[in-house]
């Protein structure tokens, strides 16, 4: 099996593994990590599709993956903050609304 097919297989496997784990766990941090794993699987498929024999590697999937990584960082940051807030007590709720930037 060529290297490209290997990475595509791994990417597909990671995606479905991450999605399954994210949908079934109850622990919030594991859910967030599983979302990141599923995203990594998708990125791996894109990177594997950028390979060409004769031409230099195709740059558009690379750009897509860079953008996707940044978007997933932003989403994970928000998810982690929300998970932390929903775990701590509800008395910190009123003080949170006064925190401006």
């Amino acid at each position: 099996m060529s290297e490209q097919s290997l990475y595509t297989v791994l990417g597909i496997g990671l995606f479905w593994l991450g999605l399954y784990r994210a949908l079934t766990v109850n622990a919030l941090l594991i859910k967030i990590i599983s979302f990141n794993v599923a995203g990594a699987g998708t990125f791996m498929i894109l990177i594997a599709s950028a390979y060409h024999d004769t031409l230099p590697p195709d740059a558009i999937p690379h750009a897509i993956v860079l953008t996707g990584i940044v978007v997933s960082v932003a989403t994970s940051a928000l998810a982690i903050l929300l998970a932390l807030r929903s775990q701590s007590s509800s008395t910190t709720k009123t003080s949170a609304n006064d925190h401006h930037r």
């Binding site: 399954y20 031409l55 932003a74």
Partner: protein
Amino acid sequence: MTKPLVNGQRFTALICLAMCIISLIVVIPVGPSLSAASLIQEHLNNSGVENPVTAVLLNYRSIDTLLELAVIYVAVLPVCALSFNQITTVRCVHSDTVLRGLTSVVAPATIITAIYLLYNGTRLPGGAFQAAALLAGLSGLIAFSGFRHFLKQKALNNTLMVSGILIFTAIGFSHYILPASFLAYPREYATTVIITIEIFATVSITAILGRYISALPQARISL
């Protein structure tokens, strides 16, 4: 110790396994097709940079990069509202001599590496995001090891966070001055424009990622 799966989890596991096998069967026989790679090489001279990935990110599909800056900015808004620390009072709890010594050695080297990554993004792999990630990690390290750093001022921080999107959009709207369409760079200024955008993008992404890090609580909380 893992618990046995309940019925709902078994159902989900079955569906995900079936979809995984279907995906594998469907995707592997089909090889990837040739796409715009040759087109990228053709127009690379006109784009002002030599690295094809930077050309795609900041010239051909520049609106995706602009919107991606918008995405991380939009995520920092609720993060600021829900943050556990005010930006002026991020405390350092776990600092000690080793950490402070390490930071004082690592910080200058990291800054130089980041500037190198940023500047060489036009030729080699690198660019705004990589440099910004490095600098954001450094700002977290500086804050948590107890040094004072400039990102603790609220006004400066807010200005820096917004500057990336503002400059990018302002450059995009420069087509009211020069005859072109939105986000089209004139060919002779393309490199300058791209480097300007990258500098401001680095600065704002550093500020935003640093805000993500400083929003976390200092004490240990188990999820």
